[in-house]
Symmetry: C2
Subunit: 220 residues, 2 copies
């Protein structure tokens, strides 16, 4: 158990850190903990529709720069820069090899349970959430799971004294081209959900602003 005060201290410490101290590196053990919080994050049906590219090569970071207006100062200064990839429709279809792989080789489900689960997932995908309505709908659903991992990574970083900034500021289409050409990404299978930079602040943030609790919570 962790003290509530310690937890909230970390949530107040976290802010969108736009620029980092280029001389300070996150210790390996600390960054492993951040990655482990992503790996252990929950996802719908436990299908983990994500991948994490840790981009440390300066040339590859530079390749991202022209298409990522939201990371102009963090790309050159972050200790660690992560591109979070979400799976696209082909490997997320209820009858795909990836889904079978997850249920059999990762979840170790016996065949009857796996096949019953596949039918639940099929109904969920086809009817409940209508995820097959468009390729985007499936990709955005995978993206939502990635945002659970994203949130956990940033919160855990803050608990370890590490700053971070989520990055949605990119031209999605232009970025996809860069990912294909410079990162050899299989863009039929993966797309960029979001990015996140980690490092150590060099300036103190402005005071945090949020809606009041009464404005966002309703008890029924």
């Amino acid at each position: 158990m962790i003290e509530a005060d310690e937890i909230l201290k970390a949530f107040n410490f976290r802010h969108a850190c736009k620029v980092f101290d280029p001389h300070k590196k996150i210790p390996d053990k600390t960054f492993e903990t951040i990655l482990e919080s992503a790996r252990l994050s929950p996802s719908s049906f436990g299908f983990e529709p994500w991948r994490f590219l840790v981009v440390q090569d300066p040339a590859l970071r530079e390749a991202l720069l022209p298409v990522t207006w939201g990371a102009q100062r963090s790309l050159p200064t972050a200790s660690h820069f992560v591109v979070i990839l979400a799976r696209k429709q082909p490997t997320l279809l209820w009858n795909s090899d990836y889904i079978s792989h997850m249920m059999y080789e990762v979840h170790h489900l016996p065949p009857e349970m796996a096949e019953a689960r596949r039918q639940m997932y099929r109904k969920f995908q086809e009817e409940d959430f209508r995820l097959l309505e468009s390729e985007r709908a499936t990709f955005d659903w995978a993206g939502k799971q990635c945002y659970i991992a994203l949130g956990n990574m940033m919160s855990v970083a803050a608990m370890l004294g590490v700053d971070s900034c989520a990055v949605e500021g990119f031209d999605a289409q232009a970025l996809e081209k860069v990912m294909k050409e410079r990162f050899d990404l299989d863009t039929k299978t993966f797309g960029v959900a979001v990015m996140v930079a980690f490092g150590y602040r060099i300036e103190e943030p402005k005071p945090k602003t949020r809606q009041r609790m009464e404005a966002i919570v309703e008890w029924r």
Copy 2:
């Protein structure tokens, strides 16, 4: 700062808890901390496109039951049951009153900064992410922000010794009808992104399964 081991202990403690001890209530102070972690969660442009309905009235929980197959055992037993609402397109348009409210009354931006930011958001919405492609695209983007809060709430709960289960198992269209009719929800402004139940386990979970680190992380 919190010890890495303490953090990972919480991530390993957390699991999708399907049924709770109906006699155990989460102390107010503990649940407030969970809500505060949601409130302090980051969101794109700081627009907090979320609301949290804490559903404690047994009659209202019962109204959710027929349309929420993923919470058949948690709805009647959870100490606290939260419906996370995401904003829909009308209040998220770059020129909406809500966006102005957030920039002026919450972020306290001076007019020139607010209007420059509005144009960045407009470009982001219209071009970078093409969120106006469909109402669903905008709603799913708001939903992604909700999943950051969702992830934080579940992780913080685990750190406080509280179990949780995210719930995507619902018929989205049928649920929307229930939200309108039984919860008087303004369904032009809000839709259900996801739900999450909190309480205390009565049975120990199966061992956690995950892909190995090497399968999901790539260093470049």
